[in-house]
Symmetry: C2
Subunit: 459 residues, 2 copies
């Protein structure tokens, strides 16, 4: 097995070649959402299989109903070490609008200056990030071998909602099972502070429709006598929060835990400016639970939000209609061990309890994902923290994401695998936008970070 110092030296010595490999991948137009680029997706998958083959991975392009997966496995030949599964995605967002790019999006380049950046579509999301892990693998391979068993899953549909992933996971459970998942699709806290994303909020998304009369009515002829479903729906929505900003569904806070004090203290020390965060979108008053910081509101507390509402006449001008039905799309962000089924059932019961005799409710369920919380006491987390601290000279921040990453939830649900989400993206990377970039330091120190993480996990 390679020694860590040798591996790190190999990474430092091989920087130019590593950058050239990344540029090769960035030149491939693997836009997943546009069928015109289907050949580019296949080309990227094949390129990655070839690359991993050079590193003695057993790698293959695996067809799906959509763009293919890349699956690769490498054994270290040792016992008592973990088996890790790395996840990344080779597909990218469309480059439009092209006119806003300073250089063509699929012609990668390095900017000059003291903090060089790699410019190209996918530089950060996610080609640059996934190559940090593969470069770490290469360095181990060059200097004596892998420290643990490594599997790699690279997807080609992440930017289109991963439609083929659930079926692929289901069909390949045994092959993809591992001790822990490593994901490189998240960010650092700032350019010099590494971060591990330990919490992702879950999501229960329900569409509710309140049905009243069997047709739209004239508000002159029926107004006052016929029940108005918008009024019923408004009451339901208004009742969802109390005056302190807490969600009122019975049992909603079951499974919502207070942060460990060490984590809470770390978050307080981050210097996150909640006021500036809201001011940036024209707001000034945190709208969530009283007594909670903005960071808690978006990272560690559950929510109920109306994402859309519609009923009756919504065009220009006026129409004196009394609508037959009204609908709202309502979603709940979940944390801790909140049970999505219980939340959905509590919501439906909450609605039904507020239905007048003449109304009925129908529901569409669009999402039902639990929160993901890597236990703060997890051994893997402790080792990863140590690895990142050694590389960056400071403790990594344990951050949360307000949104969801479906792949992580799927592995947790189907294979009960926890995920270490370690990424080197930065808020100014302009992912999904013109002139996407990835800091050269993110790429180079990201690879060193993964080398250290793999070594720590295998000690």
């Amino acid at each position: 097995m390679a020694q860590l110092d040798d591996v790190l030296q190999a990474l430092d010595d091989g920087r130019e070649a590593a950058l050239e490999r990344l540029f090769q991948l960035l030149r491939i137009k693997s836009v997943s959402t546009d069928p015109a680029y289907a050949a580019g997706c296949l080309e990227a998958a094949q390129w990655l299989v070839n690359l991993l083959g050079e590193l003695d991975f057993t790698a293959s392009v695996r067809p799906t109903a959509g763009h293919p997966m890349v699956v690769a496995h490498a054994k270290c030949g040792r016992r008592g070490v973990p088996h890790v599964l790395f996840y990344g995605h080779y597909d990218v967002q469309p480059p439009d609008p092209l006119a806003l790019w300073e250089r063509p999006p699929f012609e990668p380049s390095l900017t000059d200056g003291p903090n060089p950046t790699i410019r190209a579509r996918g530089a950060a999301d996610d080609k640059g990030q996934l190559m940090t892990f593969i470069e770490a693998c290469r360095a181990f391979h060059e200097r004596g071998g892998y420290p643990c068993d490594i599997s790699i899953l690279l997807e080609g549909e992440e930017e289109t909602g991963s439609p083929s992933l659930p079926a692929f996971l289901e069909a390949n459970k045994a092959e993809l099972d591992a001790d822990i998942m490593l994901v490189c699709d998240t960010g650092m806290w700032n350019p010099t502070s590494p971060a591990i994303t330990t919490s992702l909020r879950g999501l229960v998304y329900e569409e509710v429709t309140i049905h009243a009369a069997d047709r739209d009515l004239h508000s002159g002829m029926f107004g006052g006598a016929a029940i108005n479903p918008v009024r019923v729906l408004a009451r339901i929505i208004a009742d969802l929060h109390d005056a302190q900003g807490r969600v009122t569904l019975p049992g909603f806070y079951d499974g919502v835990h207070e942060l460990p004090e060490t984590i809470a203290a770390q978050w307080r020390e981050l210097g996150f400016d909640g006021a500036a965060y809201l001011a940036n979108v024209g707001l000034s008053v945190p709208a969530g639970e009283q007594g909670r910081s903005v960071l808690e509101m978006i990272w560690s507390r559950p929510t109920a939000e109306v994402n859309g509402i519609y009923g009756g006449y919504t065009g220009q001008g006026s129409k004196t209609v009394l609508p037959a039905e009204a609908s709202a799309k309502i979603s709940f962000r979940l944390v801790g061990t909140q049970d999505p089924d219980a939340v959905r059932e509590a919501f439906q019961a909450f609605v039904k309890a507020r239905l007048p005799a003449d109304c009925r409710a129908s529901f569409n369920s669009f999402s039902n994902a639990p929160a993901l919380q890597l236990p703060f006491t997890s051994e893997a987390l402790t080792r990863a923290r140590r690895a990142l601290a050694a590389e960056w000279g400071k403790e990594p921040v344990l951050i949360a994401m307000g949104g969801s990453i479906p792949i992580v939830g799927a592995f947790k649900r189907d294979l009960n695998m926890d995920a270490l989400m370690i990424g080197f993206g930065l808020p100014d990377d302009r992912i999904h936008s013109p002139n996407e970039k990835y800091n050269l330091s993110s790429f180079q120190r990201g690879a060193r970070s993964w080398a250290r993480v793999l070594a720590e996990l295998s000690n």
Copy 2:
């Protein structure tokens, strides 16, 4: 001046000729909403001017920005008698869908059987109705002269919302001023029970938009921290009614009066089946103020209704957006002497009182019409009731309409003229639908009714 008995005899003797005149008018394709029929509208106006000229009215076609008005005046030569202004409209709804007509819509015919009906587009709405008044005039003219001064205003845009009427009224105030307005565009209670419509609800119609963040937000990144305008709007709507179904705007019930007991008793005796009225649209529980009948809810009580609501994502499926704004169209039906300006101001204040610091509200005002209530003690009403009772052998029902008739409101507002709304339509006349009809008895006894009303008003 003609004697009433002579006039009624003239109407009975002239029935065939009267029907032929109505058929002539029904043959003219005066569809106001379709520019292809513009010539038909002008033709109808000119035909009516010619007809009124035969009756020694000073009549003219009066151009507007849209279809012309017909204005006609006849003096009786006596002092101390009222000056009445009759209003009707010569335009009709489009006949579509043509395939559903049993006979062509502009080829009027009389059905056979014990209760013959006149079949044609406009038979009831409003050509048949307006001709009941003109036939009464003709009979007076033939038998000795008019009992009072009579002006007639016939509009050609009623079916398209009377766009030219306000400016025409404003420009011709002095000419159109009279002691009372007579309107024949309403209905009877049933085929043997005449009715006078004495109440029309007013309408305040406001569109409110709640503005929060300066852009739509991602509910993962901002959910819980940023105020959701749908939640604010839902609270406002939910607060608009109390648990007893009363509207909670401060001062809202100022000017809402209890019905005189005699009218309340008459309504109770009508045998109106509120349960059947609601069952017909799939409902069973009256939604208005507790302790009020369905008839009161739609005829004599004010309401607050949401006519439309929209915000955020309203398409298929799910989107985790936290909307920047949310809007509702909210209308208030007014009764008695409720002040529309006061209601609008109370609503806007009600909204503003419920705005969190980060939200603002904007408003669009679409309607601001007071209720119209012919005083139950009005002398003209007393005389009209007597006239109708004499013709039909039973007291007319004093009914209300839940909706508005803009023309009546405009005359009340601009010229302070009350209106006697007497019509002979029936619920099964299929106005606006294929196979529109008007009972021959409505046409003939309607003309006799107007003769009696004119005589009573002039006594």
